[in-house]
């Protein structure tokens, strides 16, 4: 018999739980969930630490710097620390904690890591251009029925579907 502890939740149950969490988040904070914003805060903080003049002169970094608040003192930074902790707890309870490179048997670990690096690079840049990623722009934006949320969702998933054929050997 298969080890039950490694089983994932029913996806519709997971979806309802995530939807209720999003609703509670709106009710308490007036804003939704996010992910890429915390990475942006980290980059802003790092650049400001290494080259403060450059950061303050930049029209982009300077938007996220203020004199009375550390750039890491952001809602999304604390939320993402929570994601890491919550994921770890879930993984621990289900015996899924393991260092590994997950990849299709048809490609090597090295190929997978190169593709992951390219994907991260694109996702990082794209999330800044679009003012948010799958969490902050698409999911949260759709929950408030914002036009921006639906455009983001269709652009992300539409492109991934159209490009899927060309990248199939990396996955199937």
């Amino acid at each position: 018999m298969e080890d039950k502890s490694k089983k994932y939740w029913n996806p519709y149950f997971g979806g309802v739980m995530l939807g209720l969490l999003l609703l509670v988040t709106f009710y308490i904070t007036g804003r939704g969930l996010g992910a890429s914003g915390a990475a942006k805060s980290t980059v802003v903080t790092a650049v400001n630490a290494v080259a403060p003049d450059h950061a303050h002169k930049s029209d982009y970094y300077s938007q996220f710097l203020s004199d009375d608040k550390h750039p890491m003192n952001q809602w999304l930074v604390f939320e993402v620390l929570g994601i890491l902790a919550g994921g770890l707890i879930s993984g621990a309870l289900s015996n899924r904690l393991k260092f590994k490179v997950e990849h299709s048997p048809k490609i090597t670990s090295r190929t997978r890591l190169i593709m992951a690096a390219l994907g991260g690079l694109a996702f990082g840049a794209g999330s800044q251009i679009a003012r948010g990623c799958t969490s902050g722009a698409a999911l949260t934006g759709m929950a408030t029925l914002s036009l921006a949320g639906f455009v983001a969702m269709m652009s992300i998933f539409g492109t991934a579907y159209m490009a899927a054929y060309f990248f199939r050997k990396f996955w199937i």
């Binding site: 996806p11 969490l21 709106f26 982009y60 930074v77 919550g86 994921g87 990082g124 799958t134 036009l147």
Partner: protein, 196 residues
């Protein structure tokens, strides 16, 4: 009446602790739903596993219906809720780039953090690389600034933009979601299973 923090019912100094707790629930739900596996996530694009479609669409409709009811019952003041601003050109181009990132990398930012937390090395590479991507954009910002701020429409809702009422739009959204779930069920049965 909500939202609680913008209305001062819960003090601003609780904000970061609440963020941490909400994040923990977010990470727990994502991991428990299988979003810490890139091969499971990528299944939605090849038809062997529609977990992304099921979780994402269910969550968005659940929250949207909830917000509509909360607003209707006077439990939440939607004018204090953050509505994403619409800059269509930059959202489309950023979305296209993210779509390519998704099919190459197999994660999005939130799911990559989640996968990092259980030890996925590919997710660690994805996350670190994401910081580099953000840095590259930030340094190139002077060149992109005009495009980044082009086509601003305020923060319209999608139903206003389509000339529909909120109720009719949500009903249509739910019917589309149900149709997508039925389709996913049949496609998953036809497509060869992938072990991961």
């Amino acid at each position: 009446m909500g939202p609680l923090i913008p209305l001062g019912i819960i003090g601003e100094n609780w904000n970061n602790l609440i963020a941490l707790l909400i994040g923990m629930a977010f990470g727990f739900i994502l991991e428990s739903s299988g979003f810490s596996s890139s091969r499971k996530l990528a299944g939605v694009f090849y038809g062997y596993d529609f977990v992304v479609l099921k979780v994402f669409f269910t969550a968005a409709t659940t929250a949207a219906v909830g917000l509509l009811y909360f607003s209707y019952l006077g439990w939440i003041d939607m004018s204090l809720v953050y509505i994403n601003p619409a800059y269509i050109p930059s959202t489309v181009v950023g979305g296209v780039i993210m779509g390519l990132g998704f099919i190459m990398g197999g994660y999005c930012p939130g799911t990559s953090y989640c996968a990092v937390s259980i030890g996925k090395i590919d997710a660690m590479v994805f996350s670190v690389s994401m910081f580099v991507g953000i840095f590259v954009f930030s340094e190139a910002y002077p060149l992109l600034e005009n495009f980044y701020n082009a086509g601003f429409l305020g923060s319209p809702t999608v139903y206003e933009s389509l000339g529909l009422s909120a109720g009719i739009f949500i009903l249509a959204l739910i019917l589309i979601a149900l149709g997508a779930f039925v389709m996913a069920h049949f496609v998953e049965r036809k497509v060869k299973k992938v072990d991961y």
